[in-house]
Homo-oligomer: 451 residues x 3
């Protein structure tokens, strides 16, 4: 008996450091994240993730003072110098020194840096701390956007043109000018919805469409020009609510702690004690303008919409799980090319059905019916959620019709797979190949080799 | 012979009051409209249809004067007090008393009311009268929006989340702040297209897309900021036409009397004497900026577009009517769940094909091919109409391609139904079930039971 | 031997003038362009192509001086008089005479003209010359927009309602008020993106969607109101780049000479010496605000996206060419109604597959699979290009997914056509008709007869 203990202990003592060593090695490749050995960054990555990839150009030698930067760049890149001149960095108020280029980029022109939140935190410690505090709430959150992107399995598989497309938004975690456009870094600009919807647009998060289609959004479109955007995001200061007014009330750089429905990604119990606290926080914000009772009813209406959406998603999941149980998904998990580096999945291949089964990595490497479910969940469901949450009622209807139609498509395909499966079990033949778009389209070994 | 007269007379004398009594009963349920017995309102209905459903919260006792309302609500809900302070209600001009909260909501805090057009008519009698006058022109019109919504058969069937989505816009009939956002009630704001497109967007009425894509709309987007929106909607005051400039010229709150093409819903003879009067009214408005001859040609171009669209719709109708004549629609009218309360339809079930056959209630409870026709008629056709009417010429092309494709789909399905029908008549077997999405999706007895 | 020379010479001497005569005759019909014998203009064409079709209304007799025009039209059409009064034409600066209506429209009210670029060139010679210079670069270009539209085969086939839709934008070649809205003709207005996107929107050129979704576009939406649009489009004057800032830098009315990727329509070698010159010109514009290295990398990223897109398009082309080689397209080129006047094509009918095979005329008169390829090339591919070029990264991803799905559809259909073809070769039977939408929809002899 005792021998087993010693063996187990010895294995554990070896396995834990071996695990750490493996992850350390996995993350130490030319790329970033858990699959960093599988891909190489291209030049633009330097701008999306400067801490990891930026290297100063070697065009000019010398150390420069702030005034010298400005003097030269007024001619070289006047656009950004104009922006800086209009900024508070240039006019910090009586008695204070301007914050020159060199304060953020360094003064050695051969060792320039691209500023990250750490650099901004030298002065804006409180805001950056609030922002980083989002990490506590897990993903989705701004602060984890880059880390979780590069850790995703499908990341290493993608062609570079798409990876760049992803990172442009996910770089919100690694640099502050996603919202505060360089080099003005204007709080007034960042308070406007346009600052948010550069990224929060299109599937799976049509925040722009749903907000601008709502009564709030229409009032914004008509009256934004009269609003003084220099005012703090506080009760009584704004005629129209905006992304920031509701989600970053009083300027708090933390949008994750009021989240009841987790972005619509999974079903939650909207009435846990934690969610009742969040609900009260929402009603408090709404009550700056609306009656509290009315606001609470709006949230209940959202709860009902979510329940209805999830009832549809679960119907689809149920059909897929039944197929999986009978090994009727086609191509089945064992017939697919593996994700890179995913040794575990080579041993235990899995279908991707519900959120907890790895749905979040179900963009590719799935059978057609899994992809249909993925689109139902990730596009139609999230569209319905955003529309309901932002008061775009016509789109709630539109997205629910799409959910209905998706369900009908999945049902039809599931029936066909069931029938084909039975026929196969009789004849021991093999189904015709249903096309390998989601397996081999552009997300293949080829890309992996060239990434 | 005389006996029959007496019997007929007696039956009539009983039937008429019985009919009235039935309708009275039907409308007296917990909901509203002809199917009010079938559904119960949820809390938010109180805001969409206050006359019927609003009940004052019992939070606070006492009678309050206007100044007292303001004093307290400046702290409680400063956003709306700010809006009021910026309104003409707060500054009605020399010698006049401000119109305080209590003038509209009442002064007893336990018997507050939500203002309806009747309340607004206390001062704005003329505008409300113009608005109500739309009823003469039947539906679609703003003034009948709520009544006709709740009288529709499909209303009682729908899940609550969708009903709320419908009512948010249809409440334009029951409260004036659909266009004049509370609590500023600004005419200047209501003159802007944003006030209209909160509702006039998306299928079946992409008024926003079509206007903003037109040359008019682009000019609006570029120059709206320079326009003085306090000017009346009259000749020479506006650099760019807007929804209100053309449809509510000189501020008339009546948009139905200039309608030639009836929203695109049905084919009309565009050259009746009545329509020639309306046409002349349009040319007059266009002539504020354009040559009259050019304007008349634009309208003729719209006539041609309509003729072309209806030629396509009639081709589809013809195929469906042929199927109906041979009882080849599947599931046929007798195979569908009945609409609630619709005793007549239980006796005489009918397919929903053309506008006059009840197309307006063909959202659900139809066979797949009827739904295809419905979408062709209600989405693609109306999209084409709005694009042509508002000068979004690229979308005219786009929508007509969609009409073409819809027609091709309907043709394919009709051929299949014809073939299946013949096979059935030979074998006396029964077709496979084509899926029950439009019959049982979410528009089923279940919802009816819980509405 | 000598006899052949004489015969050849005689035939040539006859054929060349015969060819010229034929083209002259072909262009001399009631319409315009190579197929002018096949269609008649409708009244609105007079406004799209005034030089060819405008005829003065005969409403009023007399010669009028500029002041007289204004005096009368202030009452008749005050909107456009207001626009003129706000224009530089009305206030040309000290000592200069206003440019009255009569300067452009003529003073004889029975022989009014609609101004064309030629008229504008009386004063704005340089700008019009720059504009016309675009012709050197072939189509697509603004200056050739009308000519190439009416010379296209599918033009004569189209229903009038669609032709009008086309011409509204293609008239950019024949009148300057496409961008400089009459009667203000404001340079400040034309500098704004709204002036461009009236036409540059929707498939196949979603320039509006892609620009407004980019970080540039969002900054524009938030800050355009603060920009002084009277400033020249030069380095340091603009906080946000716009269509005109980048494509018409320093106001040059020539957008074709910086084009590397030819609108995305065909694959190009992006690194020819000519393209390296264009690339340098782009980097120079970007460098007004961005680092040159970063800008060059963005262009390389676009190159990569293009390469990826064309790899997909070529896969589809390859499948279609294989079908064509085996005569398996259905309906095949010999089974289609001929284009009007196209005697050559009657003799040598052809499929329309790649760009050089006449893809540009493949809207109609093609088999379903050719149309699928057309939509893949013309809508999805160009959408991807515009998104990549304008920095709308989310849409790059979206369009590439659509390219993938299109490819899968084409593959499925190609396989079916191959199988059907083999079966036919065995049985010598004939395939079932796949529907004649793209052959006979609304683009048939009927339209031709009535055009």
């Amino acid at each position: 008996m005792r021998r087993y203990i010693w063996v187990t202990l010895a294995i554990t003592l070896l396995a834990v450091p071996a695990g750490y060593a493996y992850v350390y090695w996995a993350k130490s490749g030319p790329g970033a994240g858990l699959y960093s050995q599988e891909w190489k960054p291209e030049a633009l990555h330097a701008y999306w993730d400067p801490d990891r990839f930026y290297q100063s150009p070697q065009t000019l030698q010398g150390e420069f003072k702030g005034e010298e930067c400005i003097a030269c760049h007024s001619a070289v890149t006047p656009g950004i110098v104009n922006d800086w001149r209009a900024s508070r960095h240039a006019h910090p108020g009586q008695g204070k020194e301007p914050v020159y280029c060199s304060a953020c980029h360094g003064s050695n022109h051969q060792a320039l840096r691209m500023p990250t939140p750490k650099v901004c935190a030298q002065c804006h410690e409180n805001r950056v701390a609030q922002f980083m505090d989002e990490k506590r709430y897990g993903f989705p959150s701004h602060a984890l956007a880059m880390e979780r992107a590069v850790d995703a399995k499908h990341f290493a598989d993608k062609p570079k043109a798409e990876v760049a497309a992803c990172l442009q938004c996910h770089s919100v975690a690694t640099k502050c000018d996603s919202c505060h456009t360089r080099h003005r870094f204007s709080a007034a600009e960042a308070r406007r919805p346009e600052a948010c919807v550069t990224c929060h647009s299109g599937p799976p998060h049509p925040d722009d469409d749903s907000y601008f289609a709502s009564a709030h959004g229409k009032k914004y479109l008509a009256e934004a020009v009269k609003q003084d955007w220099n005012k703090p995001l506080a009760k009584g200061n704004y005629a129209t609510p905006t992304c920031a007014y509701c989600h970053m009330h009083e300027g708090r750089h933390q949008v994750a702690d009021k989240t009841i429905w987790k972005f619509g990604l999974l079903e939650v119990n909207p009435n846990t004690s934690g969610n009742e606290v969040r609900r009260a926080a929402w009603v408090k914000v709404c009550s700056d303008c609306h009656e509290a009772g009315w606001s609470a009813e709006q949230l209940k209406s959202l709860d009902r919409e979510r329940k209805q959406a999830w009832a549809k998603l679960y119907q689809a999941e149920h059909m897929l799980k039944d197929l999986r149980g009978k090994d009727l998904l086609h191509p089945g998990p064992r017939e697919r090319p593996p994700y890179p580096m995913d040794a575990m999945e080579t041993l235990f291949p899995k279908a991707r059905i519900g959120y907890y089964d790895g749905q979040a990595s179900a963009f590719y490497n799935v059978s057609p019916i899994e992809r249909d479910y993925f689109e139902m969940w990730y596009f139609a469901n999230l569209g319905a959620y955003k529309s309901a949450a932002h008061g775009d009622s016509a789109s709630v209807k539109r997205w629910h019709t799409i959910l209905d139609k998706s369900l009908a498509v999945i049902e039809t395909k599931a029936q066909a797979l069931q029938t084909q499966g039975k026929a196969e079990q009789k004849s021991r033949g093999r189904r015709a190949d249903p096309g390998r778009l989601w397996l081999e389209g552009e997300y293949t070994g080829h890309n992996r080799e060239h990434n």
